[in-house]
Point group: C2
Chain length 238, copies 2
């Protein structure tokens, strides 16, 4: 019965078909505006708290206000922009300390879960690739290249999420990473923070390689919570 129903409905969507769909949707002006605004926020061109003038933004992105407003609604749900009172439009979301702390907490949870999954699922090639990425970060660290370290760090965490093969966890983690991007970037400006961070990366991989899911979970949580502590320390000093 169920088999008949699914046979009558659309056939299994092939990965390439899904890619085509994504590609074509990405051509929509709303998606284009979404990507554009997101990029501007992440690159710091739009500072937290900045008012978002619809006409100006629309002109700058080469779209009309309709698609632009759709993009803003989506970004609002993602937590990147925030609407104040009615009739006063949106502004780039500014996180207060409590919200940043909660973001760290929740990301720690997800990172721990991701590591626990990897302790069970990770293949030898995957582990080798992850170790190579940590080595690359160590190189960037020695070279004192903060920007490179930051990029590699993002790629490393992305690779972990990919290897864990848990789409929901990956989606949530990435979304929260975007939200906390400004804070994290500031954080890894400090060389000592980068050094500590990469040591934790190695510890996570060791725990995962040990095959103990619970230990891996703790290592993953510890990495993000250590980041939280570094952020808190920087808060007092800076």
């Amino acid at each position: 019965m169920a088999a008949t129903a699914s046979a009558l409905s659309a056939p299994a969507p092939s990965p390439e078909a899904l890619d085509r769909i994504a590609r074509r949707r990405a051509e929509s002006l709303a998606e284009l505006a979404h990507a554009g605004i997101e990029r501007m926020i992440l690159e710091g061109l739009l500072a937290p708290g900045a008012r978002l003038n619809e006409q100006a933004l629309a002109a700058r992105l080469g779209v009309s206000r309709g698609p632009l407003r759709e993009a803003l609604r989506a970004l609002e749900r993602e937590g990147l922009v925030q609407g104040g009172p009615a009739q006063r439009g949106m502004s780039v979301r500014r996180l207060d300390a409590a919200e940043v702390a909660e973001l760290y907490d929740t990301r720690a949870l997800l990172q721990g879960f991701c590591c626990a999954l990897l302790a069970r699922r990770a293949t030898a090639p995957q582990m080798a690739a992850l170790r190579a990425q940590v080595a690359a970060m160590a190189a960037a660290l020695s070279a004192g290249d903060a920007a490179r370290y930051y990029a590699l760090n993002l790629a490393f965490h992305d690779a972990m999420l990919e290897a864990a093969a848990h789409r929901r966890t990956a989606a949530l983690y990435r979304a929260m990473l975007k939200e906390s991007h400004p804070v994290r970037r500031q954080m890894l400006d400090d060389a000592e923070n980068r050094r500590a961070s990469n040591a934790e990366h190695a510890a996570m991989l060791d725990a995962i390689a040990g095959g103990d899911a619970e230990a891996a979970r703790r290592a993953g949580e510890a990495h993000v919570l250590a980041g939280k502590r570094r952020w808190l320390a920087g808060l007092g000093g800076g």
Copy 2:
């Protein structure tokens, strides 16, 4: 310095002011459409997979297509609706088994965290209120009132999130609850499932009352993962 800056900016937003803001924004037609569509989906008036005709929906909600499209974009980011290929609009999202499983996993994580927080923070009155809610659910259970049990269950979990005072966790949990609403409703149609579920509620509260955060976390995770197992069992049989 920082104090000066915040003194110059808007004064601390009072809770009532935030409420006013929310109220006024809720009057926007886009928010109204958002709420309307969400309600229709959660109540099952719009079945998973159903195409969403913009004109028809707009007319039904008494709004124009502009605000409606904004609402759809927001719902898309929330995972309640889903856009297929370009030029073919949105449809109510249909979850496959893997996605439901991942939702359970992630919700288990959050529930565990929530319980761990409560083990540290919960006050006696809060615990008493939670116990009362479990007792109310037990009553609904004896009465065989499935609908009432479902509502009380939602309220109970909401109260836990409220007591844990972790806004991000609460927001994520609620979002994922909405996504999995159809599955869960079907689940709790079975009286035996309701009974097992409420036993786990009591166990969670016991663990929290014990003050051991780690034990509470395990109990919270176990509750949601038990739900996942019940769902898996129902999958094979139904």
